[in-house]
């Protein structure tokens, strides 16, 4: 094994990179410059509003966003589960 590889390998890699890179640039030109979350919301057709959480109005959805106590609660439960599993399985 060589660390860099043969000339042929590098050429194939560069060719793949070029194809993927061009496709990415085309996609970026169409999508336009924006943040990750914004890009997702635009793709799904949801208006970008920091106060608007998708699905909040639906009774079957739920939201933990912006609720530190809920986050802490979930994190505590996960921590307890991890400790219990660690003790049970003696990792």
């Amino acid at each position: 094994m060589t660390t860099t590889g043969t000339k042929k390998e590098i050429v194939i890699f560069i060719a793949v990179v070029a194809v993927v890179g061009i496709a990415a640039l085309v996609a970026f030109q169409i999508a336009g410059p924006m943040g990750i979350e914004e890009r997702f919301l635009k793709a799904l057709g949801i208006p970008h509003d920091p106060g608007d959480v998708p699905g909040n109005s639906d009774v079957s959805g739920f939201s933990l966003e912006g609720q530190p106590l809920m986050y802490a609660g979930v994190l505590c439960v996960l921590g307890i589960i991890c400790i219990a599993m660690y003790r049970h399985f003696h990792f």
Binding site: T4, I10, A27, F28, D58, F89
Partner: protein, 216 residues
């Protein structure tokens, strides 16, 4: 760098629960696999810990490219730690990321499946390409591109199957939008391919014992 950047409440409770259940089955399989190994190599555990720390940190760094993106390092995790330990690594990363508001809690299950896809595909590709690409750099680079491409496919499939609440667009419109995201993501994958290639090449040059079956 496929990761579903949606907030809690985007998926209905049914789909949140379903993706979580599937993710837990994957994690259970990974735990059984790890436990089946009589004596886990301490170097592998240390490597997994480093991968977790590095990937979590890089997950949070927004690169000012294509409007702001982040790297994943999931293919690197797949190559270095394998699919079993890799699944546990991405679980920790996703939970900690959700804890600081990077992706919703309810989406951890779905995001875990996306990242496990990347880890698994990278692991398989890395081993399959061994004969075709003896050089570490090109092999790791192509492995990374393949892993991240499949991760993007998994992301699109999960969102299309689940549907997002409050979305009025048709499935084909959503697919078109998500395809653009995947396209932009693959631009970042190119950068990640070079980084992973350089890291793997450096490891094989200096510490080949960290990679099973590899020699400088």
């Amino acid at each position: 760098m496929a990761h579903i950047h949606l907030e809690d409440g985007s998926f209905t409770l049914f789909w949140v629960a379903l993706w979580w259940v599937i993710a837990l089955v994957v994690i259970a399989a990974a735990l059984i696999w790890v436990r089946s190994v009589k004596k886990t190599d301490n170097r592998k555990i240390t490597l997994a810990a480093f991968c977790t720390a590095a990937a979590f940190a890089i997950f949070q760094v927004s690169i000012p490219l294509f409007g702001g993106v982040h790297l994943n390092l999931t293919p690197l995790i797949g190559i270095l730690a394998g699919p079993a330990l890799g699944s546990l690594i991405v679980l920790i990363i996703n939970i900690l990321s959700a804890a600081i508001g990077h992706g919703g809690w309810g989406l951890v299950g779905a995001n875990l499946l996306v990242n496990v896809t990347e880890v698994l595909v990278a692991y398989v590709t890395w081993n399959v390409l061994k004969r075709l690409f003896p050089g570490a750099f090109a092999r790791a680079g192509i492995t990374t591109l393949t892993g991240l491409f499949c991760g993007n496919l998994a992301m699109i499939a999960i969102i299309l199957v689940s549907g997002v609440q409050g979305v009025t667009q048709t499935s084909s419109q959503v697919l078109a939008g998500l395809t653009l995201i995947a396209g932009v993501n693959m631009g970042v994958a190119v950068i990640e391919a070079f980084i992973t290639g350089m890291i793997i090449a450096a490891i094989i040059k200096t510490r080949p014992d960290l990679l099973e079956g590899e020699r400088p």
